[in-house]
Symmetry: C2
Subunit: 333 residues, 2 copies
Amino acid sequence: MQRVPFEILYRELHRVLIAIGLAEERAALVARLFAENQRDGVHSHGLNRFPRFVSDIQAKRIDIKASPERVGGLGGLEQWDGKMGIGVWNAKVCMGRAIELARGQGIACVGLRNTNHWMRAGAYGLQAAEEGCIGICWTNTIPLMPPWGSAEARIGNNPLAIAVPRKDGPMLLDMAMSQYSNGKLEVLRRQGGELPTAGGYDGEGNLTRSPGAILDSRRPLPIGYWKGSALAVMLDAVAALVSGGRASHQIGREGAECAVSQVFLAINAAALGGQDELNTVANAIVDDLHAAVPILEAEGVRYPGEGMLRTRRESLAAGVLVDEEQFAALRAM
Amino acid sequence: MQRVPFEILYRELHRVLIAIGLAEERAALVARLFAENQRDGVHSHGLNRFPRFVSDIQAKRIDIKASPERVGGLGGLEQWDGKMGIGVWNAKVCMGRAIELARGQGIACVGLRNTNHWMRAGAYGLQAAEEGCIGICWTNTIPLMPPWGSAEARIGNNPLAIAVPRKDGPMLLDMAMSQYSNGKLEVLRRQGGELPTAGGYDGEGNLTRSPGAILDSRRPLPIGYWKGSALAVMLDAVAALVSGGRASHQIGREGAECAVSQVFLAINAAALGGQDELNTVANAIVDDLHAAVPILEAEGVRYPGEGMLRTRRESLAAGVLVDEEQFAALRAM
C-alpha cells in the first residue's frame, strides 16, 4: 500500500473518465465519488472497482449519456428510471431529488429502476446528512447469497445505508446483508487473509473463515442467519415495488449485474425540532457509547461511522491509502 | 400447551381489560392485539406479557385514558406525543395516521414519543399491509444489549418490522437486533431449552446457547456482531430524532422501560403501479424463494412471514395454542 494525495488520485480518475467520453460534470462527480470512497477507507468499493467500471462503459453496458428521468409520483413518493446510465450519477441525482422533496414534504422517497452499481451505499446516506437530512437508502443486487434453508444463491446481499447528520461528523451505517460484503471477500482473498468470524459455508456445507471458499461456494452467511436472509428479501421486495424495477431474481437472469433497483429516503427531521436539537440528540447518543467500558482498552467503543471518519482525516492529512498495483494500473490507463 | 378458540381467548382478555377500567373501544383493540399475537404464534409477545401489562396499568405506569396527540409536522412527516398511554393503542393510531397521510402524500412517517411497549412490532407492519401500503416501523427499548466492543448493556434491541402487501398473505419481517429477542429468551428459559445457535455471552465472556446465562449476563449477541450493534444504534437515533423523544440511554435511566420512541412509515406504492402490479411483483419473489432447493427436504424455503401465516391458519382451524398456566392465570384474573 502507498499513500497518494487526494487531489492526485482525483485527477487521475478524472483524466481517465474524460478520456473514455464522460462529460465534464459527470467525470467530476464520478471521480470524486471513487476518490472519496478510497479516502474513507472503503477499499471494497474504491479504486479496486474502477477498472471494471471503465470496462463496463467501454463495453457499453453503462450508457454514459443517459439521464435518469422521473416516470411517476405522488407527493413525496417518486419513481425514476435510470435508463442504464452511470450508477453513481443516477444515485446522486435521486438522493438529491429526495432531499429536495423532503424540504417541502418532510419526508420523501425516490425509487430508482434500471440503474447500475452505485459502488458505496454510504455515499448517498452521507449526501443526505450533509444537507441536514436523515438519509436511508439501499440497493438490490444480483443473487449472491442463499435464502435461509437453501444452498442456492438466490437473494441479493442488498447493501443498506442509514445516516444521521451531526456537526462533529455524521453517524453512518453502511452494510451488506451478508456478514461480509462481496467486495470485502474479494479484497481479503486478494490479500490472502482469513475472516475474523465465520462468513459463510464451504463447498461441503461447513461454516468457514476462508474468503475464497465462500466466494467459490456462493454461500456467504447472512447477518444473524435467518434474520439477515429475511431482511435481504424484504429490502429487495420494497426496492422492486417502489421503483417499479427488477427484483434480484430477475437481475440474476441476465448473468451480469445490471438494471438494479434502489430506494432513496430523506427525512427532514430538522423541520420539526431544528438542526441544533438534532445535533444535541445525536451527540448524547455518541457520548453514551463513548462512555461504555471497552473490552479491549486500546479499541474503545465507536459510534457507527467513527472509524470511517478517522480514516478520512488520516487520508486528508497523510494521503489516501491505495494498493500500489491498482494505482499503477490507474496511471497507465 | 392447550388449544383455545380465538373467540374465547379474546373474550377473556376483553373481560379483564374492562374490569381494570379500559373504555370499550380500547379494551376491544388491546384484547384483539394480544389474542392475534398469540394466534400468530408470537408467544414472546402474547399471553405471557398480559399479566405484566395489567400490573403496569394497575400501578399507573400506563395511563389508560391518554390519547396520542399530534404535536408538529410538515407534509408527510409528523410528530406525535403518546402521553404515556397504552402502547398498542398509540401504535395503532400512529400507523393508522401514517397510512392516512400516505394516501395523499405517497409516503408518510409518524414519529411517536412518550409511549409504552407495543408488544409485537409486526402487528403495525401488517396493519399497513392490510391497507395496501408497505409498512416499516420500529421502536427503541431500554438498554438490553452491549454495543460492539463493550460488555455493558447500553443499546436497545430495537425491534424492526417491514411488511409488504400480498393477496395470498403479506410478506412480513419482524425482528429484534439481538440474535434472539428478549421475549424469546424468556420463553425458552421458562421451558428449559437451549438456543439453536450462540445467542450471546455468559458471565465469563464466552459465547453460549443458554438463554438463562445470556439473560443473567445481559450480553445478547447482536445479529451479525458489529453490524446488528450499529443498526440498533442507528434505529435508536432515528427514532429519537423523528419523534423528538427519548433515546435508549435515556430510557435506561428510569429503571423501567417506559416513554419509548417509535417510527411508523407507510409507503403507498400502489399509487404508482397499482395494487395488482404490487401483487405480481411480490408473488414472483415468493415463487422464486419456493423454487429454491431446500437443504432439509421437509422444511422447504419460506418467505418472510410464511411460517407465521401457517400458524395463524392452524390457530383459526384448531384453536390458539396457549400455555395452560398462562391461560389459567388469565381465567382467574
